[in-house]
Symmetry: C2
Subunit: 309 residues, 2 copies
């Protein structure tokens, strides 16, 4: 079965995965298939989140389009940053948040909500589908389908071959992930758990539409809450890469894994610990298995496709 993991080097990490799966399928700790639930963070776990999360790329394009349609927006942030390609402004808004100043972050959040307020979920789905069809990853220069981590795709299939059901549980927007989750990961929309804008039903048009406020942010302690709400079980296996995944890893009854972005060999995955410091520090005390991008993965991304040439 471990030949389903060709991009994983023969390290202790791969052994930990294979041994855990063997223990719940045939060993002493056998779990019935119904209880073989695996949950995966998305950004930084299933695909790269550098140089910026894919969703932010899409949002910046939507802000630029909004400013093109309504030039009065072009002098206001964050539309100005989008139009002038001043991505540093966005980074600074996040930095100011960590320094206790949420003013720019609130401006950003308001503009994020404004992009979908009143839009039907199916209109949004069509717009997101078009983005995945046309957009290129900013540094890899290929479609986002090629920005997924090949070893993680193999892990999804390996788990499924052993009776697991895999879910995405991400801080990203649920409905931004759904249009690609089946094609990129083999995970259908009903198994995509993420943050959500509040919805309401427009009876006249017979459409579900986004409101103007978030319903919840699926991060940190909210992840176990959303897993229960959507799945109704405690997961057996959880994989993440950041501080916001700690509670989800702790909630799993079996194996917890943390992807560590430590590859400095120029294979296209940017090395960083920012946002993962607490999780990495807590890993050994919690028996979480660290996945070293540098040491455990022989290949990071899929081969480029003809369409990427």
């Amino acid at each position: 079965m471990s030949d389903l993991l060709p991009s994983w080097r023969d390290t202790a990490t791969k052994s930990a995965i294979v041994d855990f799966v063997a223990s719940v399928t045939t060993g002493d700790g056998t779990l019935p298939p119904d209880e073989r639930v695996a949950v995966f963070d998305n950004d930084g776990t299933l695909w790269t989140e550098k140089p910026m999360p894919t969703q932010l790329h899409f949002i910046v394009m939507r802000w630029a389009a909004a400013a093109a349609a309504d030039p009065s927006l072009a002098d206001r942030q964050p539309y100005k940053a989008a139009v002038t390609n001043d991505l540093a402004w966005l980074g600074k808004a996040i930095e100011k948040h960590y320094d206790g100043d949420d003013s720019d972050l609130h401006t950003m959040i308001g503009a994020i909500l404004a992009t979908t307020a009143g839009e039907s979920v199916e209109e949004y789905q069509a717009a997101v589908t078009g983005f995945y069809r046309d957009a290129k990853h900013l540094t890899l220069g290929r479609s986002y389908a090629g920005a997924v981590y090949k070893p993680m795709i193999e892990l999804l299939r390996f788990l499924e071959a052993n009776g697991f059901t895999c879910y995405i549980v991400s801080g990203g927007d649920r409905d931004f992930m759904r249009p690609m989750s089946h094609d990129y990961y083999g995970i259908p929309p009903e198994r995509v758990v993420g943050s959500a804008v509040g919805l309401s039903f427009d009876e006249t048009a017979n459409e579900v539409r986004y409101g103007n406020a978030f319903s919840f942010m699926d991060d940190g302690p909210e992840k176990p809450v959303r897993i229960w709400s959507r799945v109704g079980r405690r997961p057996a296996l959880a994989v993440g890469n950041s501080n916001g995944d700690m509670q989800m890893l702790g909630y799993a009854s079996g194996l917890g894994m943390l992807v560590h972005h430590d590859d400095d060999t120029g294979r296209g995955d940017e090395p960083y610990d920012a946002g993962a410091e607490r999780a990495l520090a807590a890993a050994s005390g919690n028996d979480w298995t660290i996945v070293s991008v540098r040491d455990d993965w022989s290949q990071i991304f899929p081969q480029p496709q003809a369409a990427d040439a």
Copy 2:
């Protein structure tokens, strides 16, 4: 394939079901299996909701147990009604609500939330599992497993045999349905959509716990919202039995069905239109198929099991 529906009489209703399924699987309107999503209301659709919804039976037992543990509660409503078996008080609280007086309903809702506030989802799951093991339906005198509608169980299996995925979408409490949904209906917990109390994660105990307020009531216009949130698709087929199912039936892209409780032949299903008047009146204008309990079902409930003797 229609031999999978032995409790359905050979009527126009059965033909409408069989023809619809044929049309999306082999006919002109073929839907890929991913899009063959069917949603079912629960109370009054998949099982009887008379003489009271199963969940209310459970709640009354919990109120009585709470009053036994804390006798100071026994003089207060709704605990008093539970202890004295004054179920009429509960009915009157609902009637007063329709007359514009919500005082008793608010008392009831507060007491419903009090039964789970601070409880972990797994503690509640164990309590509900015990109820299903021990409780008897109040008029059928058998376990609640025997209070399901046999023709609807056959319909679930018929749809699955044709590539459909079936979900419960009920106004009832999601976590009250999950412990029986697989055994009674063959529907796993991740495909149970219902009303929900707000949850939070208790990091110290590593448990998800109920709060003291509802997160949402999954009824009427909220049903399409919850279907999108959980499934991420518009259903092809929807089945309900009350006014609260109208929006869900309208949201379905294909067949909408409404169970009409019109059986006056003494086979154990109480005839009633209350709560379904608007839905029944709207059926023909919306091309919803009416399922007549009297005329379309040759058998209503499963044969009693030895355990029911």
